[in-house]
Symmetry: C2
Subunit: 148 residues, 2 copies
C-alpha cells in the first residue's frame, strides 16, 4: 500500500471499508475485540503483531469510530479498547468471515475454532442474505446501483 492515489471521493461503501480494514491486522484486532480482548498487551500477545503497528492500527480504528478508549474496568490505571456501537455492528462481517473460513479453509480432519451460541453451545446458523419476500437472496438477484 504505497504511492496510493489520493482517494478523493470514493462512492463505493466496500472501497471505503477496505480503506479501514484492508490490511493484515485490523480484522484480527476486531476479532479479538469481539472475543473480549481489550488490553493492548493482551491483543499484542494474541496476534503476535509488532507493538508500533498495533499502536497505529488501534489509533486508526479509534479514529474511524469503531473502537473507543476507556478506563480499565479492573480499576487499574490503564486504558481499554472497546467496540463502539458502530463497531459492534461489524459483527455480521466478522461472523460471515468466520463461517466462510470454517467451511472452506480447513481440510477435512483439520481442527479449528468454532463460533458457538452461548445459550445452546451449538454452532451459529449460517448467515445468509435474505430478500424482502423472505427468500434467499442470491448474488444474481441483487445489483449495485451506482451513483452518477
Amino acid at each position: 500500500m504505497s504511492k496510493r492515489k489520493p482517494k478523493l471521493y470514493e462512492p463505493c461503501p466496500i472501497a471505503r471499508s477496505v480503506d479501514i480494514f484492508g490490511d493484515r491486522w485490523s480484522l484480527l484486532i476486531l476479532r479479538d475485540a469481539f472475543d473480549g480482548n481489550r488490553r493492548f498487551g493482551d491483543i499484542q500477545r494474541s496476534l503476535g503483531v509488532a507493538r508500533n503497528i498495533l499502536s497505529h492500527r488501534l489509533r486508526k480504528l479509534v479514529d474511524a469510530g469503531i473502537l473507543k478508549m476507556q478506563s480499565a474496568s479492573d480499576g487499574s490505571a490503564y486504558q481499554e479498547y472497546v467496540l463502539t456501537a458502530q463497531g459492534e455492528r461489524l459483527f455480521p462481517i466478522v461472523v460471515a468471515l468466520r463461517q466462510w473460513g470454517e467451511r472452506h479453509l480447513f481440510s477435512c480432519g483439520e481442527r479449528h475454532s468454532h463460533l458457538l451460541e452461548r445459550a445452546t453451545g451449538k454452532s451459529v446458523p449460517l448467515m445468509i442474505p435474505v430478500a424482502r419476500d423472505g427468500t434467499i437472496l442470491t448474488p444474481e438477484a441483487a445489483y449495485v446501483e451506482k451513483v452518477i
Copy 2:
C-alpha cells in the same frame, strides 16, 4: 506484510481468511466479480490497480479456489475470471461489508452506491446473525470455542 512469521498452523478461520483478502485489492476484486466484471482489463480499469498487482491478486484468488478462469463467453479468444461455488459463498461477506459501509462511512447528504434487489428495486434487508431460536444473535450471545 513483510518479514511475516512462517504462519505455521493457523487455527482461526478469520486469520486464514485474512491471509487471502487482507490486502488493499482482493475484496474489491471480489466486489467486481459479484458485479459481473469478468475481464482483466475491465477489472483493471474499474479499480485503477497496477496490472502486475492485479495479475498477482487474481492468481492468488484462483489458487485459493475463489475464482476460476474460463474461456470468454463472448467468443473472443481471451479468458474470464468468474467466481467458483466457493467464491459465490463469499456473498454474505461482501453484502455485510457493503451494508456496514453504506450506513457508517458516508455523511448525511453524501451520495453512494446502493445494493438493491433486482426483483423489487428496493434496498436489500440488513443482514443480521440469527440464533437457532430465531432471535437476533448479539455478540455477547456468541463465543468462540478455541481448539486445544
